[in-house]
């Protein structure tokens, strides 16, 4: 009886793993194909039969992207914009979140309601008025302009996530500091921020990725080829050299690998941020 149920459990586990593995295969094959193509000379990117392991792999596409196509420049543009966006967004949203989590002040409900509206409004919907605004502010065709709009666009979500985290910090800790005469700034800097490192990491990663992957806004406001970010550069590789799939996917691989690595390393923060939003909202 016991052995029967044990072997049955094993069989079920086997079926489980089989189904999951088939699914994983379908998830992974496109990535493998992308990487394989990035190692193929252009003549072979559409060969029949398609090969997931190239016969004569070459890194020519990578050196080509990096040297003759200014890819290094675009990489640095994206990196700089993403770092600046992350810094400003985490800084500003943590201050707002602290105000909403711990203070009562006139207008709190209304301001928070406005923040929720910002959380709901789809980014694409604002692209026309934002474009006019950027034009009036002289922020078209500027990387600073990208940081400005990216930061503004990430504030609502980050504030919302951080607020719920700050609320879970025991009030007694802060009250003890108040007794010792610590003002709000000291409490924010010395207590709330250090205790919230995981949450700050979560919103930091989200902001970085949002900026790193952003495509539509940059495509709309950036004209100067020297100010392109990675996603635009990649999409234009495809347009300018419509047959250079090897180049497109070498560039894509360079853009995607840091993200995948960051995800694998910071997985816990990713998932916690995601599910906090979902299970609490």
């Amino acid at each position: 009886m016991v052995t029967g149920s044990a072997s049955r459990t094993r069989a079920i586990l086997g079926v489980r793993i089989l189904i999951l593995s088939v699914g994983v295969f379908l998830m992974i094959v496109p990535f493998a194909y992308m990487f394989a193509t990035s190692l193929k000379p252009n003549a072979l990117v559409l060969e029949i039969p398609p090969k997931l392991i190239p016969h004569h792999p070459t890194t020519a596409n990578y050196t080509d992207a990096w040297t003759s196509n200014k890819f290094g420049r675009y990489f640095l543009n994206s990196l700089g914009v993403a770092i600046a966006t992350t810094f400003f967004s985490v800084w500003l949203s943590s201050m707002m979140a602290y105000a909403f989590a711990r203070f009562s002040f006139p207008g709190r409900r209304i301001l928070f309601g406005l923040l929720l509206i910002g959380l709901m409004v789809p980014t694409m919907m604002l692209i026309i008025p934002q474009f006019i605004l950027a034009k009036n502010l002289g922020m078209l065709d500027s990387l600073t302009g990208l940081v400005f709009f990216y930061t503004g666009g990430t504030l609502a979500l980050n504030t919302f996530l951080l607020r719920s985290f700050f609320q879970d910090i025991p009030r007694e800790l802060e009250e003890a500091m108040v007794v010792d005469g610590a003002g709000p700034w000291k409490r924010y800097l010395k207590l709330v921020l250090p205790l919230s490192r995981p949450a700050l990491a979560t919103v930091g990663i989200f902001s970085f990725l949002a900026s790193w992957d952003e495509f539509v806004w940059a495509l709309t406001v950036i004209n100067d080829p020297n100010k392109r970010t990675l996603p635009i550069a990649i999409s234009l590789f495809q347009g300018e050299h419509s047959t250079s799939w090897g180049l497109v996917f070498a560039a894509s691989t360079i853009a995607v690998v840091p993200v995948l690595l960051a995800f694998v390393i910071f997985q816990r923060q990713f998932v916690s941020g995601l599910t906090t939003g979902a299970l609490k909202a």
């Binding site: 994983v24 559409l46 604002l126 008025p129 609502a156 790193w212 495809q238 909202a281």
Partner: protein, 297 residues
């Protein structure tokens, strides 16, 4: 006491001010502005005045066959992708909700498409669905002999929408899976095991124990996916760009084309404002339904 209260209030506003001013300028002001622009025959030439036409842009949309087709395509995208993401995401989550080796690894691999940029995966799918020499046609035609000739995926409305939908499902499964898995893990293991000891079969067990507990989460995921469906843009933009002949336009690609190819900011704004209202209604319904007392501001 009074003085310290005032000091606290002042501190609160100081914490809020820099972020909120930026947020108001970049997000709130454009919302109002989008509505205003949508009421004009907007002129982008400096020095000229825009003509106020009331709801003219909105009535124009009602008589624009491409707008209706774009709405239809957006709806079709949702019908194709939302149920599939829920069912497949739930299946993977249920399979992963057990003691098993390499569980974390599986979860990571299913999640990889979610964190990959839309630009990259859109180009990748476009490449895989190329007519001659593409991976998909090779598998379907040369390998499995399921079709007699190579399919011209991107030349026809429904096959192109199918490609875009398959991409949406592939990229989205990991997201719903992670949410469902987190929800399933809040269901007490003793309950699931007790039902198993009672000899209930897997499906009956799932329906009796897990499903009721995670119903609110399923509703949440559904609403989020529907909103996501309204927002489909990059994949369509990069795979078909609405073509051939506007056959595969969705609401946002059509809005973008009106605004930034035809420079009709007024009409573009009326399209995006309509969409915003739909998404707001859905979001508010979702907040109403699932708000927990703890989160009341």
């Amino acid at each position: 006491m009074q003085a310290s209260k005032r000091k606290e209030t002042l501190a609160a506003y100081t914490f809020l001010a820099p972020g909120f001013v930026l947020f108001a300028l970049v997000v709130l002001y454009p919302i109002a502005r989008a509505f205003q622009i949508s009421l004009y025959h907007w002129s982008i030439v400096p020095g000229t005045t825009s003509q106020y036409i009331g709801l003219g842009n909105y009535t124009h949309a009602l008589h624009d066959p491409i707008f209706w087709r774009a709405l239809e395509n957006t709806g079709a995208y949702m019908v194709f992708t939302v149920p599939a993401q829920i069912v497949l995401g739930m299946t993977v989550a249920v399979l992963l909700d057990a003691r098993m080796p390499a569980r974390g690894l599986y979860r990571t691999l299913y999640y990889l498409p979610v964190v990959t940029s839309w630009v990259v995966v859109s180009l990748l799918f476009r490449y895989m669905f190329i007519t001659d020499g593409g991976l998909i046609n090779f598998v379907l035609h040369d390998k499995l002999h399921l079709v007699g000739h190579n399919i011209e995926w991107l030349s026809h409305r429904w096959s192109a929408l199918a490609v875009i939908s398959i991409l949406g499902i592939w990229k989205g499964i990991g997201w719903s899976m992670v949410i469902f898995l987190a929800a399933l893990q809040t269901v007490p293991r003793e309950l699931k095991e007790a039902a198993a000891v009672d000899g209930a079969r897997a499906w009956a067990r799932f329906r009796a124990v897990s499903l009721p507990a995670i119903l609110p989460v399923i509703a949440f995921v559904t609403v989020m996916l529907v909103i996501g469906g309204f927002n489909v843009f990059i994949s369509v933009f990069l795979i078909t760009n609405g073509g051939p002949l506007d056959e595969t336009q969705v609401l946002l690609t059509y809005m973008y084309r009106q605004a930034f190819s035809f420079l009709d900011f007024g009409y573009g704004s009326s399209l995006s404002f309509t969409l915003t209202l739909i998404v707001f209604a859905l979001s508010i319904a979702q907040l109403r339904l699932f708000r927990r007392p703890k989160d009341a501001a």
